[in-house]
Symmetry: C2
Subunit: 120 residues, 2 copies
DNA sequence: CCCGCACATTGACAACCGTCGATATATCTC
DNA sequence: GAGATATATCGACGGTTGTCAATGTGCGGG
């Protein structure tokens, strides 16, 4: 068997070895997909401002007409952004009379923040 | 000047009043734009897995060939994603010999997480 | 000096995203 | 019920994004 004839196929493995997987498994593709949906929801300047406006608001809620003006966007566009944030589970929508009040889902942003801090 | 002739333009303001800005200013458009650039960088399932793989790696660094296989993506695509993360200030790139080692910029993810937790 | 390897860059293409104008829906008032 | 108001939805358009195949670049070994 030529016990250690030496330099057979393991000759240059000691130093320049790259491409050895870490052993620790990656985040699953499904979890990455789910998380990316939430991050995509806030990864837009206008939606970041929407969240900022709502959380800085007096009663921690705001209706569409409160948000249209400071963002300098049309009402359909603001409504579209709010729907994305609601679908992502970040905002809560409550209709009272003619108005729709949006508030931040408790813990939603903290959960996302936890994803970023946990690996470190 | 008709000091207070009364109900001039402020007649129906008492009850169903909506659309009153909160007073607290929104996040500035510039800051929102800058933050969205960083959030966009991680708001992709494959880039989330890249960050996860690197931070779970033994030496907290990995080269491209370590990352191509677990993501089942071509080498140019992985290189493209890594460049986006580097440009966003989330990853650090260090070339040693033929290989390029990527590591997470210390504090980068925590800074992003802070943006999400601070308003609450 | 030439070849192989790891990685970066380019160009192309389909899919998706943000925005708007127009229109639909729902609720309150008279 | 008619009209006004707040919001949602639709259709369209330009811009961006993720992916790949092909090619370029830089370093190390024989």
């Amino acid at each position: 068997m030529a016990a250690n004839t030496g330099l057979a196929t393991t000759e240059m493995v000691d130093e320049g070895r790259c491409c050895v997987p870490s052993g620790a498994p990656a985040m699953s593709a499904e979890r990455a997909e789910a998380l990316s949906r939430q991050f995509k929801a806030i990864a837009d300047p206008n939606r970041l401002r929407l969240v900022s406006l709502i959380s800085a608001s007096a009663e921690n809620e705001a209706c569409v007409c409160d948000l249209t003006e400071p963002l300098e966007l049309g009402q359909p566009t603001v409504s579209h952004h709010l729907k994305i944030l609601v679908d992502a589970g970040i905002l809560h929508r409550e209709k009272r009379g003619v108005w729709a009040y949006f508030s931040i889902v408790p813990g939603a942003l903290d959960a996302l923040a936890g994803v970023l801090t946990e690996p470190k």
